[in-house]
């Protein structure tokens, strides 16, 4: 019985609705946070920051956002790429229009702009459901990308149509632009991840979150017992887009530095985020992180292994990568359709019983 909850008694309901009701978990959580915020910045180098950590963090935010919409509220969306583009472009516009505004503010504001756009595209969800809705959200995806591509105002009339992030600082330290230190990039993303994960957690454990889940599990019944579907769905769209927008803003400003709508925010990105959410676990915050890490890191890992270690030709390696990723996705679904998060939960369950079989 390595992992125990016996002997853990909770005498009040607030205690019981804690994020980590088991003391061991809580302790571990603080330890991890400490390492992430204080330890990692000292050792992170360029490669780790730019190719591993920052993308994982940025994608995690997007996955968190989509998980709120799809995992908690049950509305499948394939418009994530488009909403990320909204975040990125509003961030760019804000940064260039108000050069003195703190970049952290800009990023939060882009989140709000995206939330508004999300609400607009969320309206049809009142009528359209399931895969029909999923396909319908592609309208948002294509329209938004077209818009940013086609209206020069969005890219400040630059000749190429690309947007490039200007350099901005926080406390005198550059966080955007080519001269940013890797640890600064990492920390700013970490900051957003932390704040947003905390918000997500709060929302999902309170009545807003329950109204989402009710809509997800059975929308008609939810309405009959008093959930306002209009409100719940639009809230979910807004919050989800808020997250996705911030992720897009970070993707542009901190991670890539320069983007073009059709390439950086294409339909593939939408699918990618959806994979993360499903592989990680629908309706699980931890799952969003696990999924993002899985989808971002697996190809990198495979590439390092196949090309770096085994020196396969790049094309064979890449094709094999696809084959392996595809097969792994299927394998995971077969082993555990409810994602990595559920797998972790089962594992814990077994650990709790261990060494007794049942």
């Amino acid at each position: 019985m390595l992992y125990r909850e016996a002997g853990e008694f909770r005498t009040s309901y607030p205690d019981d609705s804690q994020t980590f009701p088991i003391a061991f978990d809580k302790f571990r959580y603080y330890a991890i946070l400490a390492v992430l915020f204080v330890g990692v910045p000292f050792i992170v180098n360029d490669y780790w920051a730019n190719a591993v950590l920052v993308p994982v963090l940025v994608w995690s935010i997007a996955a968190l956002g989509l998980n709120i919409l799809t995992g908690y509220c049950g509305q499948i969306s394939l418009g994530t790429g488009g909403f990320m583009a909204v975040g990125a472009y509003s961030c760019y516009k804000l940064m260039t229009a108000f050069p003195d505004l703190n970049v952290v503010f800009c990023i939060f504001l882009s989140g709000f702009v995206t939330a508004l756009v999300g609400i607009v595209f969320g309206v049809p969800s009142l009528r359209i459901k399931g895969f029909y809705l999923a396909v319908a959200t592609l309208a948002a995806q294509f329209f938004l990308v077209w818009l940013f591509n086609g209206v020069p105002w969005f890219y400040n009339y630059s000749a190429s149509g690309q947007i490039t992030v200007p350099e901005r600082t926080v406390f005198g330290i550059a966080v955007t632009g080519p001269y940013t230190e890797p640890w600064a990039k990492y920390l700013i993303c970490m900051f957003f991840v932390f704040v947003l994960a905390w918000l997500a957690r709060n929302l999902t454990r309170s009545s807003v979150g329950r109204s989402w889940m009710a809509i997800r599990d059975m929308d008609i019944a939810a309405e009959i017992i008093g959930v306002n579907p209009l409100k719940a769905k639009l809230q979910a769209f807004a919050v989800s887009s808020f997250f996705v927008g911030i992720s897009g803003a970070l993707f542009f400003s901190v991670y890539l530095g320069a983007v073009e709508a059709s390439e950086a925010f294409g339909i593939n990105q939408s699918f990618l985020v959806l994979f993360m959410v499903i592989i990680g676990g629908l309706g699980s915050i931890f799952g969003s992180f696990a999924g993002a890490a899985f989808i971002v890191l697996l190809p990198v890992l495979l590439k390092n292994l196949l090309v770096g270690r085994l020196s396969w030709p790049t094309d064979i390696a890449t094709n094999s990568e696809f084959i392996i990723v595809g097969a792994l996705i299927i394998f995971f679904l077969i082993v555990e359709p409810h994602g990595l998060a559920h797998l972790a939960r089962l594992f814990k369950e077994k650990l709790r019983l261990w060494p007794f079989p049942h």
């Binding site: 190719a51 294509f142 591509n149 000749a159 190429s160 890539l256 530095g257 320069a258 790049t314 890449t318």
Partner: protein, 403 residues
Amino acid sequence: PWLSYRTGPFSPSGIPAGDGFHDYFSLLNERDGGIGGVPINVIDCETAYNTQKGVECYESTKGQGSLLYQPLSTGITYQLIPKGTAEGIPIFSMGYGRTAAADGRYFPWVFNFPAHYWDGASIAIKHILDLNGGDIAGKKITLVHLNAAYGREPIPTLQALAEVHGFEVDFVPIDFASSQEQKSQWLDIRRKKPDYILMWGWGIMNAVAIQEAANIRYPMENFIGIWWSGSENDVLPAGERAHGYKALALHRPGKGAPIFDDLQEYVFDKGLAAGTGEHAGTVLYNRGAYGAMLTAEAIKTAQEIHGVAEITPAMMRDGLENLVMTEEKMAANGFPNFGPSFAVSCENHGGGGEAWIQQWDAHATEWKLITDLIQSDKELINRLVREDAEKYAAENNIEPRDC
């Protein structure tokens, strides 16, 4: 490193180009033991034409002593320009990337010789001027382009040229996602009957556009593509009907150059070919090999300047910046008269801005050069480049260096 894409939607173009690049360096390593006695290690990194993977490639390979990046994608080039600049690794985007990078004062680490997109636009118009005895006032010219940064590159140039020469120009953007179905665009073109069509397309869009042009019986000889819209991949699906299609050429097509004998002897016959070897002589293969040759020359130049064999990225940059391509050098490398002669300088990273026009002969299934080298309207182009570079510099607080 060579950021290649042998997979994904653009693999038909990425494969031959990658083969050419690799094979040339394999040849140097096999035949000459490298450059100046130092074997060249070409790091291949697969991007599938995807920006993010490109960044990952950059980050993962830059620690391995990379001298220079050939991103082979305009989108990735944009990512790498600030990164390379900040970290002091030169970026060589041959005939693509950011046009303004031709201005070496603002882009000290970025090179796009021998010619860039705006040169291309100007050269195409020059060709049309030549066909019409120098007067194209009132003619209608349509640009069919990919609706992306790359495709929009020539628009300002064409507008500027239209003012100068008094032709009408209009633009038909095609989104990548719908580039397989261009019927409405081509019906529109059929109705408007432009005198000439230019194309800035990529991937499957080229092939479909040429098919559709053939379908509406557009006279192929009035249809001119940029050098990225002029490979065998683009014309073959249309078969016979693509006969007469023209495209700009940065270098010679075909297997005529002596270098191919060496490649056969030292690379293909030894089983060292990067791919199947069967692409040798195709436009994109030659582009890869040509790019490799230019790179090798720049390395040699760098070695000469600094007097060492093992060079650093900074030296590499100097090599690129002082590269002088002459006919003799090309001939010595087995590429006689293969590309234009040009000289790179501190101020000019864009080369001479010359290119040929090639035409597709569907019966012989080969490209043929039909003109001499055409020089772009450098005065106009340089002005545009300077303006754009200055704008970029102003946005990003970059001070020009003195040249």
